[in-house]
Symmetry: D2
Subunit: 186 residues, 4 copies
Amino acid sequence: MSESVKSIAVIYGGTRDEGNTEMLAEQAVAGLAVERIYLRDYRIRAIEDRRHAPGGFREVDDDYNAIIDRVLPHDVLVFATPIYWYGMTGVMKNFVDRWSQTLRDADRPQFRGRMRAKTAYVIAVGGDEPRLKGLPLVKQFQHIFEFFGMKYGGYILGEANQPGEIAGDKIACYQAQRLRAELHER
Amino acid sequence: MSESVKSIAVIYGGTRDEGNTEMLAEQAVAGLAVERIYLRDYRIRAIEDRRHAPGGFREVDDDYNAIIDRVLPHDVLVFATPIYWYGMTGVMKNFVDRWSQTLRDADRPQFRGRMRAKTAYVIAVGGDEPRLKGLPLVKQFQHIFEFFGMKYGGYILGEANQPGEIAGDKIACYQAQRLRAELHER
Amino acid sequence: MSESVKSIAVIYGGTRDEGNTEMLAEQAVAGLAVERIYLRDYRIRAIEDRRHAPGGFREVDDDYNAIIDRVLPHDVLVFATPIYWYGMTGVMKNFVDRWSQTLRDADRPQFRGRMRAKTAYVIAVGGDEPRLKGLPLVKQFQHIFEFFGMKYGGYILGEANQPGEIAGDKIACYQAQRLRAELHER
Amino acid sequence: MSESVKSIAVIYGGTRDEGNTEMLAEQAVAGLAVERIYLRDYRIRAIEDRRHAPGGFREVDDDYNAIIDRVLPHDVLVFATPIYWYGMTGVMKNFVDRWSQTLRDADRPQFRGRMRAKTAYVIAVGGDEPRLKGLPLVKQFQHIFEFFGMKYGGYILGEANQPGEIAGDKIACYQAQRLRAELHER
C-alpha cells in the first residue's frame, strides 16, 4: 500500500468558507500535496434523468465535466461534506447524481473503471449527534463506493455547531491525524 | 385519526415525467384531492449556509419560498423521490436543505411548529436492491422527521429500472394501495 | 430459478408456540414441503470462543450439531424470529454464534461452501415500529449472508403485539403470500 | 454532569478471558471504581415469552436476577461485547432478552424507571470491518436505550482478530482514553 506516492483529491461539499468540515479535512491532509475541489465554486446543474429518453443525455452547459476531469486522475478521494439534514449537501448530491450521466458519456468510457481503482474516505461534520445520525450518510457512501467496487478507506464523523467548534471534538481530530498518517504512508 | 378530511401534498423529487416513482405515488393518492408539487418545475438554489454570517441569511431570488408556502398548509406530506445514488435526488435535497433558512425566516415564524403537526410518508423507487440499499434514505428521513417531531407514517421502497417497470413490483403496489386506504380514512 | 424443486428449511427462533412470527412464516410456506426447525426444542449452548485457544474448539454436549445437519441439506433457509429488543432472539443468536465453531469443524469441511449456495430469507415480527426499528436486524442478516456469499432473497417485517395480531398487518401478510408464490416457482 | 461521583458497571458479553473487547473496555475504566459483570460466569437461561400466557412469567432457576440486581444500582452502564456475527454475543442477548420479564416483575417495579435514569455506552470489537458492519449493533443499542429513555453516551467500535490485536487500533484506544476522561469527570 506504500510503494509509491498516491495523489489525493479532496472534494468539498460545504457552502461556506473555512467551515468545520474544511478544518477537519485539512487536518487530515496537512502537509500533503492534494487537489482541493470546492464544489460551491462551480455551477453544477441537477441531473435530468434521460437514461430512457430518445437520444439519451444531452450536453449540459455547466462546469460539471471540468470537475469530474479534475477528480478522475487521483487515486484517493476524500468526500468532505457538512451534514445537512442528515445527508450530504445538495451541492455535493447534485455532483454525485451527475455520475449517472458520465457512466453513459462516450467521451469518458473509462469512468467506471477509473473510479473502481480508487480508495475513498468520507469526512462529515454535523451538529445533531453526528456519530449516530450521520450513519445513514456513512452507509449511503458505502453503497456508492460498492457500486464502483471502490475501496472504502474509512470515515470520520465530527460534531460541531459554531464556527471552529470542531477543534473541540478530540476524537474526530485524532481520527484526522491518523488518516493523515495513513495517507502519508501510501 | 379520521374525523375530518386532511389535506395532502405530494412532493415530487424526480427529474422526468411519469417516472416509476410518480406512477407508484399516484397509486397511493388515486382519487384523493392532493396537491402535487413537482420540484423539477421550479428554480431552487442550493442553500448558502449563513447561519453564522453577519446579517444571517439573505433573500434568495428563486422559487423556494413559493414552494414552501404551498407545502405548509397540508397535514400530510408524501416525499416521492427516485433513488439516485442511494439517496433522494439532488433536486429534493436542495429543497430540504433550504429548510435551515426557513427555520430562521422572520416571515415564517411558525415553520417548525407547522411541520411538527404533519404526518410524512416516503415513497422511493430505485433499481439496485432498493429494499436493502434504500434503507439509509429511509433512516435519513426518520431523522429529518424526528427533528421536527413529525409523525413518520411509513415508507414504500419500490424496485424498477425501465420506464413502467414499477407495475411489476407487486409488493410496492400493494403497499401503495394500503397507503391509499389509510389516507382515505383520515 | 425454477428448473427443479428446491428444498426449504424454516428456522424458528421464537420461544412460544404459534406466535405471530410462526403464523406469518407459515403463510409464506403454506402448501410447500418444508422442514421446520424449532430452535426452542433443542438444547443449544452459547459458543465458547476457542478460536485462539490451545486445541481449538471442544466438542460440546448439546443438540447443535444435530440441528446444523438438518439445516445444511436445504437450498433455501427462512430465518423466522420474533424481534426481541430489536434483534433476533437469544436462542437464535446462540445458534448462529456456533457457526464459528462449525467453520473450524473437521467433520463438516464443506460448511462454508454449502452455506454459500443457499438463498436466505428473514421473517421477523415485532411490536415496536418493526418497519423502522427492525432495520438493524435486516442489516445484520445482510452482513451474515454476505459473509458466506449467500443470496439474500428478501425480508418481511411484520407488526404485532397480541397473539394473532399479525393477521391485521395486511402488508406483511401480502408479502408472505408473494414469498410463497416465489418459493413455489423455484 | 460532574458534581458527584457516579458509579459504573461494565457488563461483559465475551466468552473468553482477556479478550480484545475486555482489553479495550479496561482502558476506558482504568483507575475508576467499576463493577465488572462477566456474563459468561453466570447461568442465564433464554427467555420464554410468557407475556400472554396464563399466569405470566414463571420464576426461573438461574442467576439472572442476581445479575440484574447488581446492574440496577449503577448510574452508568458499559455494554462491552465482542461482535459475533455482526451482533452482540448470544450470552449478552439472552441477558437483555430477560429484561422483558423484569419489566413485569412485581419484585422489581422500578426497573423501567431506574433504567431510564442511566447513561449507557457500547464497546464492541470485531474482526470484519467493525466500523461499518458493527453499525447495526450500534443502532440496535440505540433502539434499546430509547425504549427506556436512557441516554446513549457513545460507542466505540474496535477492530481486532488475534488476541491482543486491539492495541493496534489506535483510534479505538484513543476513544477509550477519551471515554475514561469523560467518566472521570462525571
